[in-house]
């Protein structure tokens, strides 16, 4: 009896544990995961402390301290200070909040819309599919960052708008993936079996198709966050990003441009922060893909 229950438990979780083992044994993916976890903890802690009015960062990231402008990295200011004497370390840490939230929000937005549109198109095919995909073609025919820039140039800066701009431009990505996955899944005999069993379309979509297309979409979403973080930074750099005085990495870089020779540290750390964040999501996404890759499993 105990033997049996143990066996059952194992088999139930085996899919998950397989994936976990695969990630766990992939050093790069694990590193990515750990960094992401750290970043998330940073962002959440900062946000909570902010809301409660507790100062957890060494300095207020937005408060100018004119007497201490352009202090090179030292014991008091690990990453130095900027033109207004604000502590770069505090600002970089504070910036995690923005980058992650814009990334996650934008990806969620495009993921939800894109998946729904793509899945509908892929499942029903025909005219609906044609209309949806032509619409996606329109968005796709403008390079995504350019479109985001155009949006921001017109709408003006702001957190919500950045999310919208970055989100909209990546909808087609998800729609395409969802669509091709749905079509691939649809070609499987188990869908035919479901139809023969008398399942309704809705049931087929939710019970048979969606659970089977999550892996590639989740992988894409992980990588999508990295792209969204890069895009946020690019918008910030062009002066189109998040509303100041929020510490946003791209904006910090833009402002340190004037001092690249006189105070290079002002541009080193925000840039590193972006790179590390993006790298972490890329590492994890790649690992996740390997773990979920159907080619490395089955048969």
């Amino acid at each position: 009896m105990t033997e049996l229950t143990k066996e059952l438990k194992q088999s139930r979780s085996s899919r998950f544990s397989d994936m976990w083992t695969s990630i766990y044994s992939n050093k790069a993916a694990l590193t990515g995961l750990v960094i992401i976890a750290l970043l998330v903890v940073c962002a959440i802690t900062v946000a909570i402390c902010d809301a409660l009015g507790i100062q957890i960062l060494p300095y207020d990231p937005n408060l100018a301290d004119m007497d201490n402008a352009f202090v090179a990295p030292c014991a008091e200011h690990w990453f130095g200070t900027d033109q207004l004497g604000r502590d770069i370390f505090s600002r970089v840490i504070d910036g995690t909040k923005i980058s992650l939230s814009v990334g996650v929000a934008a990806v969620s937005f495009s993921l939800i819309l894109g998946t729904i549109l793509g899945a509908l198109g892929g499942f029903y095919g025909g005219k609906l599919d044609n209309i949806i995909m032509r619409f996606m073609d329109v968005i796709l025919s403008v390079p995504s960052i350019l479109l985001a820039i155009a949006f921001m140039a017109a709408l003006g800066r702001g957190l919500d708008k950045a999310v919208l701009a970055i989100g909209i431009v990546s909808i087609p990505e998800y729609a395409r993936i969802a669509r091709s996955c749905v079509m691939a899944v649809k070609a499987n005999d188990y869908i035919q079996a479901a139809i023969v069993s008398g399942d309704s379309n809705l049931r087929i979509i939710f019970r048979h198709i969606l659970p089977n297309i999550t892996s590639p979409i989740v992988v894409r979403a992980t990588l999508g966050i990295s792209i969204a973080v890069l895009d946020t930074a690019a918008l910030g750099f062009l002066g189109l990003g998040v509303q100041p005085p929020y510490a946003e990495w791209g904006d910090m870089l833009a402002r340190s441009r004037g001092f690249i020779f006189s105070a290079p540290y002002t541009l080193l750390f925000p840039g590193l922060a972006i790179t590390i964040t993006v790298l972490a999501f890329n590492l994890f996404g790649d690992g996740l893909r390997d773990a979920l890759d159907p080619r490395s499993r089955r048969r």
Partner: protein
């Protein structure tokens, strides 16, 4: 082939039509009124109205759109709000710089990317592979503009190897010509100027190429690995072909198909990447110009830039598809020939 080509070309029309509406909506409907800044510090409300009238901004939006499109078909993208010169002139004057840089970058990215990708696929899991893949991963993770600034600090700030901006030393500037300096200087045989222009182009080209190079490397590697597992590679080896011919002929030619697609798509992202790169390097192309225009809300210019890049992008994609078709005999243009 011709039928397929025409068909694809005709399919572009509705897409581009919708793009134009989209861009027009973004720029005209959702954007702030630029009149206040266009007219400088001596603007008055009365003058602003006059200006809006003269720009046709008081017409119904549909009329505005139709007028705009009518003009666009005649190659007229309207007038810059600021300089009051035709947008077409402004862009044409800057286009050579951007094309020169993009072409240089895509060549760089393609050659190096493919080379490294093939190398690491063939030497899978070796030190070279790990090193290449790590660099490629960092390459796709680094913001272009940051990379650019780091390169400037290193190569022009400390090492003084390359200039930090501009296209050529002014005095070497070719006096008349196409605007493609590398070409112009070569044509007149002014090698000093040619190398000067090249020197200026290297850092921005490397920066711009960085991301695409990384993507192409990764893509090449995975596509090569895919192909190397195919049955026909086993067939080729069973024939007694050497590793070089198996990889170079049988594997690479097949792997090239997805790579060509990626390179084509990268050209589009390169064009938009040039917005950031040109800004960092003060490269006088449409990229840096559009940033300038974005910052002062010169919407006719932004609108034109987005439209033009969309057209280039879409046409590039078409070319890539055609090239793909030319490279892959499996793609059929139409059933009739069969």
């Amino acid at each position: 082939m011709l039928v397929y080509f025409i068909k694809r070309l005709l399919m572009l029309i509705p897409v581009l039509f919708c793009v134009s509406i989209l861009v027009f909506l973004i720029m005209r409907v959702f954007s702030p009124d630029p009149a206040l800044i266009v007219l400088g510090q001596h603007a008055t409300t009365e003058k602003i109205n006059m200006w809006r009238e003269s720009m046709g901004l008081n017409d119904p939006i549909v009329i505005q759109y139709l007028d705009y499109m009518k003009a666009v078909f005649h190659g007229d993208f309207g007038y810059s709000y600021f300089t009051n010169t035709p947008v077409t002139d402004e862009l044409l004057a800057r286009l050579p710089a951007t094309i020169e840089l993009s072409v240089l970058a895509i060549i760089l990215a393609a050659i190096i990317g493919i080379f490294l990708g093939v190398l690491s696929a063939v030497k899978k899991n070796s030190i070279i592979d790990n090193l290449t893949m790590t660099s490629a991963l960092i390459g796709v993770s680094m913001p272009v503009f940051w990379l650019g600034m780091l390169l400037i600090i290193l190569f022009s700030g400390y090492l003084h190897w390359f200039p930090s901006g501009g296209r050529i030393d002014t005095l070497m500037r070719p006096m008349d010509g196409t605007g493609f300096y590398l070409y112009d200087t070569l044509i007149i045989g002014d090698f000093e100027a040619f190398f000067n222009a090249l020197e200026h182009a290297i850092l921005p080209a490397v920066t711009l190429a960085g991301y695409s190079m990384a993507i192409i490397t990764r893509m090449t590697r995975s596509s090569m690995l895919d192909i190397l597992h195919q049955d026909y590679i086993r067939t080729a080896r069973a024939k007694g072909l050497s590793a070089v011919s198996v990889i170079g002929k049988h594997a690479f030619r097949n792997a090239l198909l997805p790579i060509v697609t990626v390179i084509g798509l990268q050209f589009g992202s390169l064009l938009s990447g040039s917005i950031l790169t040109e800004t960092v390097f003060a490269w006088p192309g449409i990229g840096s110009y559009s940033v300038e225009c974005i910052l002062r809300s010169d919407f006719p210019v932004i609108q034109a830039v987005v439209l033009i890049i969309a057209v280039i992008f879409v046409v590039m994609n078409l070319l890539v598809d055609l090239l793909y078709a030319a490279l892959d005999p499996r793609v059929k243009y139409s059933e009739e020939s069969a």
